[in-house]
């Protein structure tokens, strides 16, 4: 037994980037992916509750939600969805480049992904400014058709909570993309592609949240 322990310790010492509790690189990679999926499962619950509240409020206040949704910017919201879907494509391509050890391409694609994230944030903040001008921000100077004001207020509370939390997540994603663009460029981190895979999973999850937010906030009643 002590002999096998000694060999496995030796092997651990030889394999670059394999931390102590793990037998080998494959086990470590599985554990890292599992940890990210556990985090994403908790994120599903986090955002899921907000979607549940939305569904309940909309079922009880359908007319107000329809009227309030028409006040959001269809053009900016749709354009932003296209930007985010494109960023998911560049992120998937970045992960692929990292897996193929094409460090320069991975760095460039991560940089493009971060830039698309910044573009999304810029469009979103522009929308917030327009919302403010149209008196749609709760607690500031919210004003709406008095018949529907209560439900519209509920809609815009949910609108700012969900898009705000999404924006926080996206900002963290931009930070991660830039950090790993730098690391891919430097090529000094061992087993870097596994970390980039996890950054990709996080980015795609943030995209998934927006995929459901888009119809819920922008497309309630356009026809």
């Amino acid at each position: 037994m002590s002999a096998t322990t000694a060999t496995s310790v030796q092997r651990q010492a030889c394999a670059p980037g394999v931390a102590k509790p793990f037998h080998d690189a494959a086990q470590q990679a599985d554990a890292a992916a599992l940890g990210m999926w556990l985090f994403l499962a908790s994120e599903i619950l986090f955002f899921g509750v907000l979607f549940f509240v939305y569904a309940l409020a909309r079922a009880h206040l359908p007319e107000a939600f329809a009227a309030a949704s028409r006040q959001t910017s269809f053009v900016l919201g749709t354009a932003n969805t296209a930007v985010l879907l494109t960023s998911s494509f560049t992120m998937a391509a970045a992960v692929r480049a990292a897996q193929l050890r094409r460090h320069g391409a991975a760095a460039l694609l991560l940089l493009i992904t971060a830039a698309l994230g910044v573009a999304f944030s810029g469009i979103k903040l522009t929308e917030y400014a327009l919302d403010y001008r149209h008196h749609l921000v709760p607690l500031l100077d919210f004003a709406f058709d008095p018949r529907l004001a209560r439900g519209a207020l509920a809609f815009f509370w949910l609108y700012f909570t969900t898009t705000g939390l999404h924006l926080v997540h996206l900002t963290i994603g931009i930070g991660l993309a830039l950090t790993f663009a730098w690391r891919e460029w430097r090529r000094r981190t061992p087993r870097l592609h596994e970390q980039v895979e996890n950054v990709g999973l996080y980015w795609h999850f943030v995209d998934l949240v927006w995929i459901f937010l888009y119809p819920c906030l922008y497309l309630v009643s356009r026809a």
């Binding site: 037998h23 080998d24 690189a25 494959a26 086990q27 990679a29 599985d30 992916a33 599992l34 999926w37 556990l38 994403l40 499962a41 908790s42 994120e43 599903i44 619950l45 899921g48 509750v49 549940f52 309940l56 009880h60 269809f74 749709t78 969805t81 296209a82 879907l85 494109t86 998911s88 494509f89 992120m91 998937a92 391509a93 992960v95 692929r96 897996q99 193929l100 990709g200 999973l201 795609h204 999850f205 995209d207 998934l208 995929i211 459901f212 888009y214 119809p215 922008y218 497309l219 009643s221 356009r222 026809a223």
Partner: protein, 97 residues
């Protein structure tokens, strides 16, 4: 190594086609929202959102490539959410219905 090395990543064109499909679905859902279909507008929007989500999960997040344990973890979040939502809905249905 206790297992064979990871499979090579899929060709780039798979990702390009997925991206184009996502943009096509976005165009469909955006356009359909302007067609008056009553309750079907909501159904179409949700169905397209689900289709986009499945494309991202399977093509970009590779849920099928994950170990069985990863699949269990990914489904666990959805399962707990379904459980919480169902229990909360029974409460609301009884009190507000």
């Amino acid at each position: 190594m206790s297992r064979p090395p990871a499979a090579p990543p899929p060709p780039l064109r798979h990702y390009v086609w997925t991206w184009l499909a996502l943009l096509l679905l976005l165009a469909l859902t955006a356009a359909s929202a302007w067609v008056p279909m009553g309750a079907f507008n909501l159904a179409v929007n949700l169905a397209i959102a689900l289709g986009k989500a499945l494309l991202v999960a399977f093509m970009y997040m590779h849920v099928r490539r994950g170990t069985p344990m990863i699949r269990v973890f990914a489904l666990a979040g959805l399962m707990w959410l379904a459980l919480l939502a169902t229990l909360s809905l029974t409460d609301f249905a009884v009190r507000l219905g």
